[in-house]
Amino acid sequence: MAFASIHVPNFPVQAVVRAEPGLGNRAVALVDGTPPIWNVVAANEVALLAGIELGMSKSQATPFRAVEIRKRSRVQEKSAHAALLDLGASFSPRLEDTASDTIILDISGLTSLFGSDENISAQLVQRASALGLFVHVAVSSNLEVSLHAARGFSGITVIPPGEEAKSLGQLSVRTLLPSAEILETLERWGVRDCAALAALPVLQLSERLGQEGVRLHELARGACLRSLVLAQPGVCFEEEMALDFAIAELEPLAFLLGRLLDQLCARLEARALTACAIRTHFDLEDSFEKDFQLLSESSPPKLAPKTYEKVLRLPVPTRNSKMLLKLLRLQLQEDPPHAAVLKIILSAEPARPRAAQGGLFLPSSPDPEKLELTIGRLAKLVGPTNVGSPELIDTHGPGDFRMARFAPVSDESTIPSKNRSAVAHGSRETPRAAFRVFRPEIQANVELQQNYPTRIYFRGMRGNIIAASGPWRTSGNWWREDPWQQDEWDVEVRFDSVSGQSQKISSPRTQNGIYRIYYDSLRAAWFARGRYD
């Protein structure tokens, strides 16, 4: 058996730095407490060198100009811990969630995949770095030894079997986390490291310190045996960020969204997963609109919701954070939150990565991710209901259709065979005359002679109907509130000639040809529906 312990030193600071990568090389101190009393609860080494001490008040820490002071964030610590679990799960399903800053992996049998224990440790450090965490890794055949070595030694530590006691000897007894009373006793005895503790006779130690003393003695010798308490890392991919000041503009909001998406995508990548949907949740500041409405006495106050939620569904699973950010931006531009944002929660619905096999003889098709971005931009330009793939509705209503999501296929065999055979190369079939629709339909004046239309007037043009086919009577929806009843005619119109300038700028909608007109019996009016072209 071999165990690898991963420890995140100075975990609260690293959790904050992970959310703000710009703080990476700077002195950072975290304050916590109940306002107005704020004390420094954590600081990185640079801040400690600069003079910051744990426990000092915020007012004492503020004069240190080089030190960035941040509030401790439980939300970011939770996200960092989830990322740590994702890191462990990307290597081994057998892992223990020891503490918020420490996990232990069973790495038995991973040699064939990742190489030696040193290689495994190096890859753990590398992947942790990709997730925004700096970690210490220790590998040992004893679980407790690996745990204490990770907490006590920086970087990578590999302890060969049989050398546990020797390796732990240099560690301070504080690493074994004794109670304060025992620690004080040990310090009074002059026992400061594990080697000194391991050298004490166990019987006399038991008489003086009890069972706790015996346990510490076993830990110091590297002889404490226990089994792994297995944990099941969840599939909840969520990143949160609580803001000190509300953000009302899109640009700074997009900047923060980009950071959170980077973290989400890195976690998904660690678990070899992708996102099929991104949920956005904002906690909003009380809106001015609400205050304004409360002031007006004439109308009852309409309380604006304090949250904003959106779901971005993706046609193909992806973990490309840049593309996801562009899509989120388009979504926010289309439907922005009605007030400034105080808290951001981004969550991803995990899915298996897309497995696509290209074919040499398949026609070219747009890259799905790029296509989604293009469609998003088009939707912003012309409106979301005006972009998509048309779909006929199973109804007799004239011209009924709906817009569906555009999802082309690359495989020719999925196209109905009748279409393929009908439009074979160099088809000799007579083509169907195409129809163009007037949207909205144009009201027309029609003169009848013996119930046949003979002259038509619409869009400022008058013409003779030289042939007409109809009426084709259709009706429907009589059981609903929007019934229709129409008599359709196909008419060939020869418009009266116009002269001069008006001919040059005349609308192409009024030119000689075959038009489809109809008489709406319910509205008692004639309309032009379109023309053959």
């Binding site: 070219s364 439009v423 083509p431």
Partner: protein, 268 residues
Amino acid sequence: MAVNLATLRSHVELALVGRVTAPFSYRDRHAVETVSTGIAEIDSLAGGLPRGALTEIFGSACSGRTTLLLSALAARTAQAEACALIDGCDAFDPHSAVAAGVELKQLLWVRCRNIEQTLRATDLLLQGGGFGFIALDLGDMRADLLRHVPLESWFRFRRAVEDTPTVLLVLEPESNAKTCASLVLRMEAEPARWSTTLETHAPDFFRYPPSWLSEGFGIRAELLRSRMQPIATNSFQKPFASAGRSELIETNVLRSYLSVTRMESAPK
């Protein structure tokens, strides 16, 4: 001198080996791959629609431009190619397209309201890439508006589509793309064909008014410009006609007479 030239040439070729395949061979930019329009007469006239180039179809309303567009769309979607239609006047009829054989799932339809939206949408789709066929339908727009489209827009479209497998087809009332178009076709409508009961009921015209059925109309396509040279591919190829030649195509009307009840006018 000739020996020196040959030596110099071989020296340059050796220096560029691995970077440039054939530095001294002429690359013919006019050799393009073409695809079928779905109408045999137009294929024989123009040789099909060129990939990586701009094709302009113009003509008055009811001249058969949309019929040609739907035929080309049907041919491309049948080959499982992703197609896009930028509809400048929101005049596309999905029912008519299905009747023409267009596979709607393969078609991205962008419904625009004005010329600015239409040109911007075209830019976005061309930049996105990957489409086998992009049609820009400006057929119902006022000619004077289209004349004000800057020439650089057409150049930009031509450059964007160059060296790609995309067919870019533009429908207009007048030709505006000028030299940016590799293929220009002018469409004209021929008189419509009607079948009538006029002759059979002629003796008693007022008692039984004549019934008429539209059978379609003819389209005349004229090739105005073609700067294509065929290349040997497995795609559609036909011998090309010279500019100025025209072809007549007959069409059927869309309406399915069997599925609708015919209402005869009641005699008075």
